[in-house]
C-alpha cells in the first residue's frame, strides 16, 4: 500500500470497502490489516463510523473466553461508498483527492 497521506474520507472508505468485500461484515483484526491501520486509529475510526451509523456492531458468540465482535456495514454505509465513487471522479478531474 502507498505511504501517501490518506484523508479521513479515504480511511473511512477503505474500512467500509473491506467490510463490504467480506460479505458485509468483518472482524476488527481483518479490517485493521486490510485497511492498514494501527489498533488505536482503527478504534477511533470505528467509533466515529458507529456514531455516523455507517456500520453497526454485532456480537457473534465466544472464542474461548473472548467475545467475538463483527462490524456490519449499514445501508447508509453502502450509500456512503456510492457517494464517494460519485464525487471521487469529480474531485479527481480537478486533480484533487477527497
Amino acid at each position: 500500500m502507498s505511504s501517501r497521506y490518506r484523508s479521513r474520507i479515504r480511511i473511512i472508505t477503505d474500512i467500509l470497502a473491506v467490510i463490504r468485500d467480506h460479505g458485509g461484515r468483518a472482524r476488527p483484526t481483518k479490517i485493521m490489516y486490510m485497511a492498514n491501520l494501527s489498533y488505536e486509529r482503527l478504534q477511533k475510526y470505528l467509533s466515529d463510523m458507529l456514531s455516523m451509523e455507517l456500520i453497526v456492531e454485532e456480537r457473534g458468540g465466544y472464542e474461548g473466553d473472548r467475545e467475538v465482535v463483527y462490524y456490519v456495514i449499514t445501508d447508509k454505509g453502502l450509500k456512503f461508498l456510492d457517494e464517494v465513487e460519485r464525487f471521487k471522479a469529480f474531485a479527481e478531474a480537478f486533480g484533487l483527492e477527497l
Binding site: Y5, S7, I9, F80, E83, V84, E85, R86, F87, A89, F90, A91, E92, A93, F94, G95, L96, E97, L98
Partner: protein, 208 residues
C-alpha cells in the same frame, strides 16, 4: 442608444450570465458532494465556484442596469460600472485563490469599434488585476495539467483545458485597453472555459 452598443452590451451580459450559470451548476454539484461526504476538497470547490458564479452574475446584472440608465444618470452609472468590475475582481481573486489554496493544501498534501472601446474603458478592466488573476489561473492550470498528464482521463483533460482557456481569457481582458477586439475574444474564451467544465460534469455524471 446605438444598436452596436446595445449588441455589444448584450453580448457582454449574455456571456457573463451563461458563464455564471455554469459556475453555479459546478458549485451546486460540489455542494451535493460536501453535504454527503463532508469533504473539505468539495467545500473548497463549492465555495470557489459559488463566489465566481455570484461575481459573474452580479457583474452582468449591474452592467446591464448601469448601461440602461447611463443616459439619465451618467455619474451614478459610471460609479456602478466601476463597482461591478471591482466586485467581479474581488470574487475572481477570492474564488481562484480558494482553489489555489486547495491545491497548495493538498500538495503539502465589432460593428462599432468605438462603442466597445468606450464600454471596455468604462468597465475599467485593470491590467494589473487581470495579470494577477491570469497568474493564479496559470498556477491552477499547471496543477490540473500535471494531473491530466498522469491520469489521462477525459474529465481531467477538460478541467485542465478550462483553466487554460480561463487564463487566456484574462490575458485578453488585460489587452482590452490597447486592442478592443480582445474583449470579444476574452469573453468567448471565458465561455469556452466554462463550457469545458460543464462537459466535465456531464462526463463524470455519465460514468455512473
Amino acid at each position: 442608444m446605438a444598436s452596436g452598443v446595445v449588441a455589444f452590451i448584450g453580448f457582454d451580459v449574455l456571456m457573463e450570465l451563461v458563464s455564471s450559470i455554469i459556475a453555479l451548476i459546478i458549485a451546486y454539484y460540489a455542494a451535493l458532494g460536501y453535504k454527503a461526504l463532508m469533504s473539505r476538497v468539495l467545500l473548497y470547490l463549492n465555495l470557489s465556484f459559488s463566489v465566481l458564479g455570484c461575481g459573474l452574475f452580479i457583474d452582468a446584472l449591474l452592467t446591464a442596469y448601469a448601461v440602461s440608465v447611463i443616459s439619465i444618470a451618467e455619474s451614478e452609472a459610471l460609479l456602478l460600472l466601476k463597482a461591478s468590475t471591482f466586485i467581479l475582481y474581488f470574487c475572481e481573486v477570492t474564488a481562484f485563490g480558494l482553489l489555489t489554496y486547495a491545491y497548495v493544501r493538498q500538495r503539502l498534501s465589432a460593428s462599432m469599434p468605438m462603442a466597445p472601446m468606450v464600454i471596455a474603458l468604462l468597465r475599467g478592466y485593470t491590467p494589473v488585476v487581470e495579470a494577477v488573476i491570469a497568474a493564479i489561473l496559470l498556477f491552477i492550470f499547471v496543477q490540473t495539467a500535471s494531473n491530466a498528464a498522469s491520469s489521462r482521463s477525459k474529465p481531467s483533460i477538460m478541467v485542465s483545458a478550462s483553466f487554460l482557456l480561463l487564463c487566456l481569457s484574462h490575458i485578453f481582458f488585460m489587452l482590452t485597453r490597447t486592442w478592443v477586439p480582445s474583449y470579444v475574444v476574452a469573453h468567448t474564451l471565458q465561455l469556452a472555459g466554462f463550457a469545458c467544465l460543464l462537459a466535465m460534469l456531464l462526463m463524470v455524471r455519465a460514468r455512473r
